[in-house]
Chain length 210, copies 2
DNA sequence: ATGCGGTCCTGCAAGTTTGCATTACTGCAT
DNA sequence: ATGCAGTAATGCAAACTTGCAGGACCGCAT
């Protein structure tokens, strides 16, 4: 649960404010569309100042999708890394991480999750722009990608390791985006298949390329 | 030459204004840094209103690097496509196109080109953010990628063709970015090698992946 | 309970970017 | 030369985003 994280008053307040912002953002987008859901309006509804909004989220879109700023996914990532990906296909791991970042807020209520699904369906641009800034802003993600690749025997540990990590990460992001787009177009079921679909897309692409 | 494109007065004026904006942007960035080079300052120096600035370029950074808005690279792309890429490796073609978009302004004076090199070296973030928005905003690029891939026998022509095009394009963009980063770090020579380097990076990555 | 150090919230101002409406200019036909 | 239609330039306002500075609040030691 997101609302009773760790017992300090400060932490509780932060969690509550975060939840209020996410709820406000999602409700306003569903009710009035993404253009009418301005930062001012969201902040108003969440009971904070617009300046404070940006202390909680990097952008309007991040708030809508519930993507915590850089430090927030720390947990998700460490978790996945700790979950021993030894011998696993780095592509599978990375696709999982990328999809996981998009799901930072998935500890939230099922109501929120359902609403977000609807939003992504109706306004795919939002997810698109967020995915675009993923590979750009999230240096951390790149570090993790490099770390994962360095744990794979197939990848040499030379000076180009970082460059390769960037390339593989970009591939994974693009695949996740493609999988989401497909899911958004067809009135399909829910997400767990999305990661598998992304991996499958990468594999067929690679098979064609080589 | 960019300043004597097609003889209509209108076209000449447009070309001249474009050139003035690019020159102003580059000079200001070199003199005062990217933060001090505001849109207002650039527009002032170019003798236009700040609003007009955005009729010529999509963003401050695009102006600095001389990247024309979506329609601008039409020519570059058509040219490359016309130059018969039959039987050529789609990766090579795409890397060329991506690098080409970054060089839209390369018809400009050699002075401008040298200054831009210096800017990219000193402020790599600019190139980074531009590359990030490439795969996001440039729908056209994606279309071309799909077209190129559809011309290659190895790629099936099924429903996933667009998804695969997105993945390959993302790979190429990431590779070009990596190649540029490398070039920016080492006090290396000039650009023609960058495309080859990007292709090489992709190939070693693929070899490791499969 | 009080006070201290650190964190958080807020207002303000600057900068980027876009939409809309108004005005000016170019290209072309008369 | 004149006028018309389309295109370009501009001003204006709104929205997003970030840095800075002042004040409020929380956690903790005394």
């Amino acid at each position: 649960m997101r609302t009773t994280e760790r017992c300090s008053l400060r932490d509780r307040k932060r969690a509550e404010t975060t939840a209020r912002i996410e709820a406000a953002a999602v409700e306003l987008v569903l009710r009035d569309g993404p253009d009418a859901a301005t930062v001012d309006a969201i902040s108003d509804r969440a009971g904070i100042s617009p300046r404070t909004f940006f202390n909680y989220f990097d952008s309007k879109d991040s708030a809508i999708l519930g993507i915590q700023p850089d430090g927030g996914d720390e947990l998700v990532l460490e978790e996945r890394l700790a979950a021993g990906h030894e011998g696993e296909d780095p592509v599978v791991v990375l696709v999982g991480v990328v999809a996981g970042v998009l799901r930072t807020g998935s500890g939230a209520s099922s109501r929120l999750r359902r609403d977000r699904e609807a939003i992504i369906r109706r306004h795919p641009e939002i997810l698109g722009s967020q995915l675009a800034s993923l590979s750009a802003r999230k240096t951390r993600l790149l570090e993790y990608a490099a770390r994962i690749l360095s744990g794979d025997v197939r990848f040499p540990d030379d000076a180009d390791a970082d460059a390769r990590a960037g390339i593989v990460l970009a591939m994974c992001v693009a695949a996740v985006k493609a999988a989401f787009d497909e899911w958004a177009r067809s009135a399909a079921p829910v997400d767990p298949q999305i990661e598998e679909r992304a991996v499958a897309l990468i594999h067929t692409t690679l098979r064609s390329l080589v």
